[in-house]
Symmetry: C2
Subunit: 227 residues, 2 copies
């Protein structure tokens, strides 16, 4: 399947590497290809610059946001929350129309210190804001409740005995994402919460996620709905 991933950071790279490894045709989207390919410094988290990763993943293409979105039958938003709507706007409404847009971002606001708060929550969510801005896209929120490496390899944590949530207005789009999670990434417990307003719940899990990271000293955990 042709897949676009908007973003070139650790989340985008992790998703791209996995999707490439299971046979998908992946193109990443960035604001400016020349700038991204000219990077030579490690990022703020100590990860190697994009060209180092790209050299190790020669089948993964890089293009503009619009080029990637035009390529993808499925579009994944792996940009940080603060620039998600700007990035999707660069991708272009026409390149998103009718497609499943899987939003894995979180509305983290780092401007008030650490741990971050959320720049939208409670009576709205970033998932809903994206859907409102791009009404012809079929937005699905998922994967935003675990660290990047766990998104694509849930078995890393306690053999995979934890839960992934899926929110979206279009039941068929939710089912397509649930299928990718199960058959592509190995998630065994996937709960379809319902329409996109349920993304308020998973985005608002982030403050507990961040504090649990603090208490445990590692981001390698997941939440399981035990019933």
């Amino acid at each position: 399947m042709k897949i676009a991933i908007l973003g070139t950071g650790p989340v985008a790279q992790t998703l791209a590497a996995k999707l490439d490894s299971i046979g998908h045709d992946v193109q990443l989207g960035t604001r400016d290809v020349a700038t991204t390919m000219a990077r030579s410094d490690k990022d703020a988290f100590g990860n190697p610059p994009y060209p180092v990763w790209a050299a190790a993943h020669p089948k993964v293409k890089l293009g503009t946001m619009a080029s990637a979105a035009a390529h993808g039958e499925l579009v994944i938003n792996a940009l940080s929350g603060a620039v998600a709507i700007a990035g999707l706007s660069s991708a272009g409404e026409a390149n998103l129309a009718g497609k499943v847009v899987l939003d894995v971002s979180n509305p983290l606001d780092f401007s008030k210190g650490m741990p971050p708060s959320l720049f939208v929550s409670n009576t709205d969510s970033l998932g809903e804001q994206i859907q409102a801005r791009f009404p012809a896209a079929r937005v699905v929120k998922s994967l935003n409740t675990v660290t990047a490496s766990v998104m694509v390899d849930p078995q890393q944590v306690a053999g995979g005995e934890h839960t992934m949530f899926v929110s979206g207005n279009d039941p068929d789009a939710r089912r397509q994402v649930a299928s990718l999670l199960k058959e592509g990434f190995g998630w065994r417990d996937v709960i379809e919460l319902g329409d996109l307003s349920t993304a308020r719940g998973t985005e608002m899990l982030l403050p507990l996620w961040l504090r649990t990271w603090g208490a445990l000293g590692t981001p390698m955990f997941g939440f399981r709905v035990v019933r």
Copy 2:
């Protein structure tokens, strides 16, 4: 131990019945004792009126908020979130000073329709608001992430293999609550998240809790931190 429980609703009754059954000396606090004892109709959830429950639990006393709080060495806030600070104010600052105040309430706002949103979240929490209003109390937030019957009997759900969180500024108060959870109620996985600002995380779990209830069709579940 002498324990005060503010409130007479289903959460207060459930906590009182359990604490009474394991040998504690429990007094419930209500705004007006005569009014509470005159109730003869079922509540909004179909539960029998307080006097019916009281007749079945003759050792549990009922008093004013102030009487109950004066009685308790531990004070539990089991009022609904919207009236928690008013109820604690009736209990009286002097009756709370120096005591562990276990806050199990959630800041649910039903005024905007169902499911409820939160009337405080993100950069503040009800737990922190209570601590700010009663600085001499040692406020601990816990038990607010499960339905009442699961609070006191976690084994009802999947043999108890789920997690309870504890937040509070006073480490000794957190430890006292964690000990009650483990030895009194049978919780096996208790995570001390840290200071009361971490209650933002557990209170903000409510939107996901409510939507998961909707998806599963039952409130008999818990979240386990799988690691």
